[in-house]
Amino acid sequence: MLRDVTIGQYFPGGTPIHRLDPRTKLVWTVIFITALFMARGALSYALMLCVLAGCVFASRVSARALMGSIKPMLIIICITAILNVFFTRGEVIARLWVISVTREGLISAAYMASRLVMLISGTFLLTYTTSPIALTDGIESLLGPLKKIRLPVHELAMMMSIALRFIPTLIEETDKIMSAQKARGADFETGGLIKRAKALLPILIPLFISAFRRADELAVAMESRCYHGGEGRTRMKKLRMTSRDCAALALGAALPALIVVTNMLSGA
């Protein structure tokens, strides 16, 4: 069911993770992803998993919600893993027609899959614990220096925040339109690729029209509430770095260093 999709949702809460400055969390996420790509060997992966598990635990985001975010990506993860199984050379342990499965292939597939799962969970943890407004404020503030080279930082941040705000609304809408077309006998489940692609038109066209209508109405509503770009705009919640943020950032900086150590220990 589409309504179970939890992408980009924010689960309000008051845990230490929720209360961190969004900039801290953004920087942390970037560090985490970098570390993830640096990691080699079981020990490094175990360390990354511990870090992720610790953050999930501290944020009290339910495992179910995280699983919900991974579910839609499952196909991509599987395809990546399967490609790794088939296209890594090494010690052959099984043979299927012209394809050979290697030990190295299986290991590399396992690493690839866990890397993707951790990548997705890590990023979703950010959106689950940070309100989109805080998130975009954070991005705007971090990218602030780029305003000097005339990058429309505020506009980009605002666009992102609105996109996040409308994800659940549009998912609900898609669900509704799908049901309405099914009630008129639309069939999305059978037939070849072309037939299925064609069957999507009755969903996509109304969805686009509705998205445009919403965008139009939202623009009028925003103007009516005196929106006139980022100039002279103030904030109810000013971003403020606390000692907790400093501690978190220090820990974050230590992570890549730790990974280098664990990489060496696993002999990679």
Binding site: M1, R3, D4, R64, Q181, A183, R184, G185, A186, I209
Partner: protein, 290 residues
Amino acid sequence: MAPIIKTEKITHVYSTGTVFEQAALTGVDFQAERGEYVGIIGHTGSGKSTFIQTLNGLIKPTSGTVFFDGTDIRQSKARTREVRFKVGLVFQYPEYQLFEETVFKDIAFGPKNMGLPENEVSERVREAASFVGLGAGELEKSPFELSGGQRRRAAIAGVIAMRPQVLIADEPTAGLDPSGSAEIIANIGAYRRSAGATVVIVTHNMDEIARNADRVAVFDRGRIIIDASPAQTFARGEELTAMGLGLPSAAMIAARLRERGLRLPDGIITAEGLRAALREFKKGAGGGNA
């Protein structure tokens, strides 16, 4: 004859196994006869929207069975698909589902999916359009050139064109002005009379139910708690008010008059009913005991 549609103890739980798990329906028994006009009331979240989607198989209840014309709609895949066309469902704000270049093509979407031949499709489109008062001129227009009310009627025609034996509509008049609403109710009534179809309408408009419905099903927290004639239903005013539901204006005025000592018969729910009762009262008063 078996009821045209019937549910036996249907229960539905949303998002089973997730944080959002919630029961939308618990053990709902319901049936509607051929040609019957049933009104469904209940506040938002009472389960009525989920319920109507189980009737044409769009939502598969977690447990329980839905029967159409005596057989289980999930007997086979073919049966489920067949029922999809026999139980037509008009969603809330159905004009947002229009997608074709012309109104004609959009109304033809359902009949085409039924696999009907070209000439039969166009016959049905014209017939359905005439039920909702759209002429040949409108059929060739883009749906987006129509007025709001016309667009809504075009969307309803898209369901009528399947010639459903049961026509279900979820708040078909929501957001329309009084004359637009009246037209839609008249269109649905015209289809019902001509096709002998059963009509199930979800609505918040109690005056409309009092005027048209044969029977009312009141939903509350996933159950049907009242299933009776409009007069019997609206006699339970206190219960309905406690659920956040209104009463027809005539029923409210009659209740107020009774409170002030006027002896009026029970079961007054329409203006016509109240007028008749007051005429009687006047006659009685003039006839001697004044």
